[in-house]
Amino acid sequence: MAFLDNSGDIILDAVLTDLGREKMATGDFSVSYFALGDDEIDYSLYNKNHASGSAYYDLEILQTPVLEAFTGTNAAINGGLLTSTATDILYMPIIKINDKGWATSAVIPDGYNSSYPILYLSDSSNDALGSTTISGILGMDSTTAGYVDSVQYLNGDDHSTKYVLLEDGLDTTTYKGTAANATAFITSNGLLNSQYYVHYDNRFINTVYGASSTSTLSMTTSAGSISVTMGAAATATFDLALENYSTARIAGAKNEIYYSPSNTTDDTTISAIQGPRGNFAAIGLAPKSDLGDKYSLFGNTTTMNGTVCEYIDTTIFVEGVTTGATLQIPLRIIRVKV
């Protein structure tokens, strides 16, 4: 008679985070929730074709070394385990930037399909002091040898006509992007992100703007159509455990780009999502007005089209409130250097 497996009960030693110690010192230490993380796991190591059978599928994953707990900045669980009411799903939504280029207000990060995309955000704070404006530099057509064509950028002063268009859905060709499939595979499975968190560095970003939930994104038989009303996003209480990061919450609106055999233009030339689509969102950003010396403290300089500019690189994170799907967008705040 073999022993019973008693491995279901495990004792772990927990360590306090910096915030935990602070709460302990102020007498505010009270635990209400727990969450599970799997940041060390690379699921691409899951080998469903292992010759030795299913018991070996996760052999490499189970051998993954786990890091010690650290307690300082970014001690948080980045991804984390989820609960889905539907366990018989094969696909989950992801968030993508619409890079199709038909919507003139939808900014595509420079080099979006390369390994090093950068989303530019113009800071006009030095425009009046120089001979040219940052918009003029970023939007310049290359008529001079050595100059490059304009890059798309978010306008720090105009968030209503310059935004990043985000879509979420099942990025697969297995299922067509029909309304019925969207309902069956996304909405019915509880995978619709009605809101999104935007995590941003509050030292550099002043305001996050988002599209209202009544905004529309759709297509006719041949072309896309978008109508977005931008407004300042609501702040959200969210502990990303990244120092200096704050969180805004923007609304999602129904993505009504659908596949139809009668379309003369394929829906995938309008939408970045190949399969059924959930919601969409738009993000505009305004930099802090007093970045001033932060350019020298945190940034660097570069010459763009003959003008010396200074910039700060940072990152914004977009996260689906329901599904936890995330998108990381490298951001470059740039202005003319005087």
């Binding site: 772990l12 209400s32 996760d58």
Partner: protein
């Protein structure tokens, strides 16, 4: 988004665990190995500190202090005595901290080598060994203290054996073992301002029946007190008086305690005629060993993180999907699988307060249900 699961009040419990460590201190560290470079004397001359390494090194750890003193009513107290007021001050300070003042006048209570403050067994002169919290931790475990002292005298100046080595076996037995043998966690101690204390016995000479636990015991072999929480040893000077076999001591006839400047001093002469540091030196060089178990009290809260079979079977890990397809599935009917490496504890504002890591990834799928016990120690 990290999905939070609720912890109910039933999902946490508090425990207290006592950890014990054995602390052996050898006499060669206390005197000898470092040629007293690990002994720190102060200009105020009130006590001396003993380190486990030359104290000028940052590697040195403070292990205990030694000092001595006497009650103002002691026959040794005299205006002509060296550092008379400081010796009285030391005794008074220790008495006030460990025993408290007595009566409406707030009189200094004499130490007594028994468990009652009844004016019997008074010890008006003595040494104090103040063990560092580094080694005693929360308290000394009752009944584990043992100290071996060399008691050979300096009776024959110039005699190398006696002069250099208080543990000399030339002559009578010259070490005594001092233990709190009647004390235990369940009895044999008394309580005072300084916490629990027990009696130290010279167990080399005492018969087992005389010091059997629990009380009543025969205090004739008592030579001091040990304060467990304070980590302070009070050693009556009587341990060094008298003669072998007639008193609870191993000192030969004509015993001399100290030998300053090529002269000899009895213990009484040392208390009056030597500075505190000199008297402490002589005690320190007689310490052959000290050993005890310390106690660390660990208060823990254990959180039971219960993960039902139908929760946390998927992941928002960026590698969980390829495109939008779940990597760990071939067909939709395959059960979802995720692997746990980390558990975070959050407050009601969803702020991360504590974090724990597993030693290896733990598989979670709809066929298993887990309870992870997270222990947070204070």
């Amino acid at each position: 988004m990290t999905q939070l699961l609720t912890l109910d009040s039933d999902d946490a419990t508090n425990t207290k665990t006592l950890l014990y460590e054995s602390i052996p201190l050898t006499g060669t560290v206390v005197s000898g190995t470092y040629a007293d470079e690990n002994i720190k004397n102060y200009t105020h001359g009130m006590f001396q500190s003993v380190y486990d390494y030359p104290y000028l090194s940052s590697s040195a750890n403070h292990i205990f202090d030694i000092t001595m003193g006497y009650h103002a009513d002691s026959v040794l107290s005299s205006s002509t005595a060296v550092q008379n007021s400081k010796k009285i001050n030391i005794y008074n300070q220790m008495s006030l901290v460990l025993l408290g003042a007595s009566g409406s006048a707030g009189d200094i209570q004499p130490f007594e080598t028994d468990l009652t403050q009844d004016k019997s067994g008074q010890a008006l002169n003595g040494f104090f060994i103040n063990l560092s919290r580094l080694i005693t931790k929360d308290q000394i475990k009752k009944g584990t203290f043992s100290m071996v002292l060399g008691t050979a005298s300096y009776a024959i100046p110039g005699s190398r054996d006696y002069f250099k080595n208080p543990f000399s076996t030339s002559g009578a037995a010259t070490t005594v073992t001092i233990q709190d043998i009647s004390a235990s966690d369940t009895g044999g101690t008394a309580n005072s301002y300084g916490g629990d204390y027990g009696v130290l016995y010279n167990t080399t000479l005492a018969s087992a029946s005389a010091i059997s636990s629990p009380p009543p015991v025969n205090y004739s072999n008592a030579v001091g007190l040990i304060f467990y929480q304070a980590g302070i040893i009070f050693l009556s000077s009587s341990v060094f008086t008298g003669s072998f076999a007639s008193q609870p001591l191993a000192a030969p006839t004509g015993f001399r305690y100290n030998r300053p400047n090529n002269s000899t001093q009895t213990i009484a002469q040392t208390f009056t005629g030597s500075a505190i540091s000199g008297a402490c030196d002589s005690l320190r060089k007689r310490i052959k060993s000290i050993s005890f178990n310390n106690t660390t009290e660990i208060n823990s809260t254990i959180y039971f993180c219960r993960i039902p079979h139908n929760r946390c079977n998927m992941s928002s890990n960026p590698t969980y999907l390829t495109g939008s397809k779940i990597r760990v599935k071939s067909v939709a009917s395959d059960p979802p699988v995720a692997y746990i490496t980390t558990v975070g504890l959050y407050n009601s504002s969803q702020e991360l307060l504590a974090i724990a890591k597993l030693s290896e990834p733990l598989r979670k799928d709809p066929t298993n249900e887990l309870t992870l016990r997270l222990r947070l120690d204070y």
